[in-house]
């Protein structure tokens, strides 16, 4: 258990109740020493509460992460769906691949490594063929 967990717990418990003029940070200043005393004295109550809060926080974080992942997944699916409706995309991807091949030649002429650009060319060639 760390101090941050406790502060989140105290804030989360008090804010919805709306004690006027007392915000979570101030309460943490009052309750934090008390909770620390209880946790170190082996009294189970506060420890359990704090553990529950820590678990809740972990659960909230887990849910938020899952939601972020879902949102990203949804976005990728919709990106793909909309790309499928772009009738010009295969030709555009082909042109882009051709352009990157030209860029790779130029990079080589300049004495640099063209691999990343050749990879990009291959990627867009594949994309153009996927439709």
């Amino acid at each position: 258990m760390n101090v941050d967990d406790l502060q989140i717990f105290v804030t989360g418990q008090e804010k919805p109740g709306g004690i006027p003029g007392i915000n979570g940070i101030r309460l943490s200043g009052i309750l934090l020493p008390l909770l620390l005393v209880f946790s170190f004295s082996g009294t189970g109550g506060a420890t359990d509460l704090a553990n529950a809060a820590a678990e809740k926080t972990d659960e909230t974080v887990r849910i938020e992460q899952a939601e972020d992942e879902n949102r990203k997944k949804t976005q990728q699916v919709n990106d793909l769906k909309l790309r499928g409706r772009e009738s010009l995309f295969p030709e555009q991807a082909k042109s882009l691949a051709k352009g990157y091949r030209e860029t790779a030649k130029m990079i080589e002429e300049q004495g640099c490594d063209p691999k990343p650009v050749l990879d990009a060319a291959a990627y867009f060639e594949k994309q153009s063929e996927a439709f």
Partner: protein
Amino acid sequence: MKRKLLAAIAMLFTIIAVAPARADNAVKLRTLVIATGEMAEDLGLAYIKPVLDEMGVPYVVLNARRQDLTPAFLAASSQGVACKAEEAGCVGNYNGVILTDADLVPGFTPAEWDILHNYEKNFRVREAVLSGWPATYADPKPPHGIYLDYGLAYSSSGHNHDARWTIPEGYSKEIFEYVNRNNPLPITSLAFATRPRNDRKHLKDGSIPYVEPLLRTGQGEALLSIVRYMKPDQSAPVREVLISTITNASFLMHSKVLAYEFVNWATKGVFIGARFIHLSAHVDDLFRTNSQWNSALDKENGTYRLSGADITNAVGKQAALRAAHPTAGNFKLDFAFNGAGAVVNPQAMPLAANWKDDLVAAIVANKTHFRFINHTFTHADMDKSPVPADAPCDYRTFTSAEAIRAEITANQNVWALLDLPERNENNRVLITGAHSGLKDQKCTDNPALHPGMFNLQADDIAFDAGGANPLLLQAAATAGVEYLAADTSQKAQNIEQYITQYEDGSKTDRLMLPRWPTDVFYNVTNPSQLEDEYNYLYYQKFVNAGENPCEAQAMVCSPRSYREILASEADTAVRHMLSFSRWPHFFHQSNLAQYDENGSTLQFDWLDAVFTEYEGLFTLPVKNLPYYKIGDHTAESLNARSAKIEAIWNRTTNRVTLSANKAVPHLRVTGLSGGEVYGGQLIGNISVDTKATTYEVDRGLTR
């Protein structure tokens, strides 16, 4: 005395004769887009062109593959000879440059890069690069200097980044003011991640690129940066570039987030045109009943009509939505209503409001919380009559314009009976039942009557193929309707356009206003119903027919939960919003039914999901306009787009002089003093005509 006067006059002439001609330090408000090909070949051009069009920004496209860039193309005297900013009367042709690709290989030669950079330096014009390889190229010909260098070193490639905003404080009031910088921006296309070199390597003109990343990968690599080209003896940069090394395309969400700034940066926030974010939700069929989807039967069975309690609940939910979402402002639902359901007897004249109906009473009691739109009296079908007239048809049709007009005016009468707000303004607007009359369904509308037809729309005659009903257009014209709703999912209806191709007996044309459909279907009131119908239509139906749903246009590869459907819907709606379109989304009255003890509704679940998704990306207030105003603004935009606007920004006086080849009573110009404050910028709404008028520029850099 006389001698002194003559001496003074002589001195004055001398001063006039020897005084150097004053340079105008002026550029036209017009953007130059340098592309690698035509739309079909250039992903970047296909991406930025609709953005410029929607915003109403004048631009010229130079196809680097086929056209050469010359100094005279960028700035020329009245005789057509290339000129410099310091020459009197020399006006730069562009106040911003957008490159669709970073190195424009192989179309752009080192000499053309020099011409472009010299123009940018001479006229203090910025450049924005949409995508590409962060090149550093030296000229193979003597004197072999570096002619192109973005000051970046390649670091890695990837197409899945949670990019973080790192906008330097000095730019916080100027660049990406509209994004939610607290949230990562998912990048879902190929990107070259880079590291700023910030070494002392200089280009052949002596300038050194200094890079400030604005958007970075989780490893701190730059994906989007400002490059300032400095010279040791000057405090101001000689050139400024915004470069993205992320692939951008119109179908990518991150590209929609970034799009505005490419234009805004390049033009220094002073340009003809503007962008606003809009969201409107139309709830169709108020006072009617809607058929209901039966999950057990996989077809419709039963009906639903809103109750007074549903309306009271909607008032509370609307207030909660506004409170939960800072960008929602004073958001209001728009009810498209059918008055036949609000009167005692639709056949009895004069009509009498049915005050005993608790829905009617609740609507009237809460009328100031909502807006209303004419959806015709009975929701009658306005499609063409069959030929011959006695041929079988799934729906009843009208055979005269007068009968259709009566459907429009009877609903206007109900508007008056219920004393709903803004009646006069709304007499100019019409949404026909199911957008009928804009295509010919050829009498096939009911799936139960045509079991052999997989797709009932397969035989439809589209709007642009002569499918619209001229009787509807005549009736609309005589009833004073100016704006007619259309469905973006229907062919040739997904464009704002005056209906010119049909004779309606009027001197003016109706303006078609498209609306977005959603997958919150008209026949569902609760999540399980929606989930079932959604998965039937987009998944099971294809499986049943032996097809792969994954390959169908809807692309639902596995059944979705309500949560997943909402997420997908929100993503789609936000993409619409980020395209700056004003088009509303339409729903139906069933969607406003309370489905649980918390008063949840499909309608407000959708709105909450959309605002949540939007606010994760943007901070701009969302405009929620009445439909007639959407019509007015669309008409104004179309008029402005059809005009030839001349605008010159004199940077010495910091004023813009505007004129047009015709009257443009409402021209939006970003960066004008006294304009509406939006996203930290000032957006003027000015009247322009053939006479030149001058306005003060305010880039809003302190807001």
